[in-house]
């Protein structure tokens, strides 16, 4: 609010030099700067201080443990009877405690010597960042304007006075003090990017596992179908099949096993199991269903694993602030979760990949067919339903651990040796708002991506978000710690992404609804059947006709053009245009506002 962060500093700089430099720049008294805090290249020093603090704590705990033992033994009813025995035992314990304290003191001395030796080395005395606090916010704004709003003339000719000891400074608005991770400040941007790439790669490996599992399940499903009695669920049943007698149907199926589903689908699963013809058909169906459930379960598990892994790996990335850490988590987790929950199905939608990977002969189609809705559509719904539980399970587990610990502290306070331990038992976990934002955005994006074709995703998403809200609200009040003052970046990003979700929704709607077989009429079907589809029957068989013709549709020249030449999608194109135009206008106007404000402030400062 009142502070700036100055980096790229000369090696031997102190507080006084900085105060003089900025007071001279502002042409004011040095009193306008109320505080200068320097961050050194002292990662090792901080680590040693952490170790030293841990040693001190262990010493305090040793003393308290001994005190507790003395008190409990002396207060015991048997003390009078076994006084000598107890006193001898306590004396032994005391000697043991003193020996341990002596040992800790030696370790402490060593740590202090190390800290002292580090303090004498020049490398560890190098200043990395200086946080300068002005007494008034206008001075901060002025300095930021001087350093960051330079014209080309300023940059080329008159930037000498901005340098400190011939070094060009980098000045930014300072982050909130509570979010700075001091031990990470020595890591340069390049080092952090390298680490981030490595962690992203590791998380991406999980995504590949997910993709491999989905493809494997689909491959097994296809193989399973092929190994059966040449059954093809897409074969259109003959128009007069239902009017045949049972014997006629059996004879027809024995002659044409590819129509087995027409026969078996008439029975319920129990009857299918008892029927010799349908037994294998039922078995294959059950196996397919299991594979679909398995794929959904894998996606949910990978989502959870990605979240957990990223939470662990983000510490390795050495962010300078908790804000940066949260931003990094939010972006990657949202994109990875979205790809895992929705993107994989879009990839999976196109069997070209499956065909090239496993060299199996399956039809490839870029559209959303009845097959797609029957298999992948079901998986998406299952994933979204599973996500209702999956997204809350971590919070619920944390709450269970927290309430159990709290209960222990209320029922058995004597188990906690120090007041600090007792206090720690009633402090809840951190509130990870970046994880929550990424979770919510993933739900919204996934729902809006497929909702045109699968409207059931709306109520599922609604229940998911509603429950998420209620639970998180409860945890806010009852469990989470009050978070530090984070900045607005993640919140602004979420606001920015929501119109993007709407655009994506409209684009997907255009693609799904432009399937000209979706809105079909009997005359069109008969016309199409005349044009070569032998299986196309009358209006009743439109579903089968739709699935088979579209499934066999290959990447033909003009396919895209044919799909886009559909009057049904014209309103959607108009809506998309309006949404994009409004969105862009809002962004443009906000930039225009910033520009005019800057011009206005420049004129005021010029005056």
């Amino acid at each position: 609010m009142y502070s700036i962060a100055v980096s790229h500093l000369p090696p031997n700089i102190d507080e006084e030099d900085l105060v003089k430099h900025f007071a001279r720049l502002l042409n004011c008294s040095p009193k306008i700067i109320t505080n200068v805090s320097l961050a050194y290249n002292n990662r090792q020093e901080i680590a040693l201080c952490f170790d030293r603090g841990a040693l001190i704590k262990s010493k305090v705990i040793l003393v308290h443990a001994y005190r507790h033992e003395v008190t409990s033994m002396r207060m015991s009813p048997e003390y009078d009877r076994k006084m000598r025995e107890y006193d001898d035992y306590l004396e032994k314990q005391r000697q043991r405690m003193l020996a341990k304290i002596k040992d800790i003191n030696v370790q402490l001395k060593n740590k202090e010597k190390l800290i002292e030796s580090l303090a004498n080395k020049d490398v560890f005395n190098r200043v990395i960042v200086a946080y300068i606090t002005f007494d008034h916010a206008k001075y901060k704004d002025e300095i930021l304007s001087i350093y960051n709003h330079m014209t080309i003339y300023d940059f080329l000719c008159s930037s000498k006075h901005l340098k400190l000891q011939d070094k060009k400074l980098k000045v930014d608005e300072a982050p909130e003090p509570s979010v700075i991770i001091w031990e990470n400040l020595m890591f340069t941007r390049f080092q952090r990017v390298q680490r981030r790439l490595l962690t992203t790669f590791l998380v991406l490996l999980l995504l590949f596992v997910s993709l491999a599992m989905i493809f494997a399940s689909k491959y097994l499903d296809i193989q399973n179908t092929k190994n059966g009695e040449k059954n093809n669920a897409n074969s259109v049943c003959p128009a007069d099949f239902l009017s045949m007698t049972d014997e006629e149907q059996t004879a027809f199926i024995e002659e044409n096993p590819e129509y087995l589903h027409c026969y078996c689908d008439q029975f319920n699963p129990i009857d299918q199991a008892n029927n010799s013809l349908c037994k294998h058909y039922l078995q294959r169906n059950v196996q397919s269903q299991v594979l679909i459930y398995f794929a959904s379960f894998v996606i949910l598990m990978i989502n959870y694993a990605m979240e957990t892994l990223l939470k662990i790996l983000v510490k390795y990335e050495k962010h300078h602030t908790s804000d940066g850490m949260n931003n990094s988590i939010f972006y990657r987790l949202f994109f990875l979760k979205y790809i895992n929950s929705a993107g994989i199905f879009l990839i999976n939608n196109n069997n070209v990949i499956l065909r090239s990977l496993f060299n199996i002969n399956v039809s490839a189609v870029p559209g959303f067919t009845a097959d797609w809705y029957n298999t992948i559509g079901v998986t998406i719904i299952l994933v979204q339903i599973g996500d209702i539980i999956n997204s809350k399970i971590d919070g619920l587990y944390k709450y269970w651990v927290y309430s159990r610990r709290k209960q222990q502290s209320e029922l058995h306070p004597e188990k906690f040796l120090t007041q600090d331990e007792l206090n720690a038992s009633i402090i809840g976990p951190n509130f990870n708002f970046a994880l929550n934002y990424s979770q919510l955005l993933t739900i919204i994006f996934t729902a809006l991506t497929f909702s045109t074709g699968i409207p059931l995703l709306y109520p599922i998403a609604c229940v998911n978000i509603g429950l998420f809200y209620l639970l998180e609200k409860y945890f806010f009040v009852k469990m989470y710690k009050i978070p530090p003052h984070f900045n607005v970046t993640v919140g602004n990003r979420v606001t920015f992404f929501i119109p993007l979700a709407l655009c994506l929704h409209i684009c997907m709607s255009i693609w799904m609804l432009s399937n000209h077989k979706l809105f079909t009429w009997s005359d069109q079907i008969s016309e199409a059947s005349k044009n070569g589809n032998e299986n196309a029957g009358d209006g009743e068989a439109s579903y089968y006709y739709y699935s088979s013709t579209v499934a066999d549709h290959q990447f033909e020249a003009g396919y895209l053009k044919e799909r886009m030449n559909n009057w049904i999608i014209i309103p959607l194109f108009i809506t998309l245009g309006v949404v994009i135009f409004t969105w862009m206008s809002i962004i443009f106007l906000s930039y225009l506002k910033v520009f005019f404000n800057r011009v206005r402030s420049d004129f005021i400062s010029f005056d």
């Binding site: 050194y40 919510l440 919204i444 978000i465 003052h485 919140g491």
Partner: protein, 160 residues
């Protein structure tokens, strides 16, 4: 129409979530009581209820995600840092002294007084641990001594 109603309802859920985030970011009760800004609570309730989106403006247009700065915008150009500190207007940590950061203070095992008197990590080694040891041991043996006296007096009174 159904699509619109349902999507509107879950965007509203998101709004409610953001509102909740906001309340707890800015302090549990201050957001509801309008501790810093009398218009604050009403404005955010309106935001949650209306389900509108947009950027925060000085005119008070309700934003989708509100982040209250540590010192309100209107006052930060009127109040100096020194005065803001005195009036306790700055929420959270107001200093860039690493030793006063509760996380580091706790981990380094230092006292508030020590943190206020020093500003460099290497000063931590100046903290006299041995003196602390002595105090701890004195307290320990004093306790032990007092306890012995107490037990003896109880025993003697019992005998008496």
């Amino acid at each position: 129409l159904i699509e619109f109603i349902v999507s509107y309802s879950f965007f509203s859920s998101l709004q409610m979530f953001n509102f909740c985030c906001l309340c707890f970011r800015t302090g549990r009760l201050s957001a509801f009581q309008g501790h810093d800004n009398p218009r604050f609570s009403q404005r955010n309730i309106n935001t949650a209820a209306a389900g509108t989106t947009g950027k925060a403006t000085k005119a008070g247009a309700p934003p989708l995600i509100v982040h209250q700065p540590t010192v309100p915008d209107a006052t930060r150009y009127l109040v100096t840092y020194t005065r803001a500190m005195q009036r306790n207007l700055i929420k959270g940590l107001a200093t860039y002294n690493i030793l006063q950061n509760p996380k580091y203070k706790e981990a380094f095992g230092i006292t508030w007084k020590f943190a206020a008197d020093h500003d460099k990590v290497r000063s931590v080694r100046k903290l006299k641990v041995r003196a602390n040891d002595l105090v701890t041991l004195i307290v320990l043996f004093y306790d032990y001594y007092l306890f012995s006296l107490l037990v003896e007096s109880v025993e003697s009174s019992g005998r008496g």
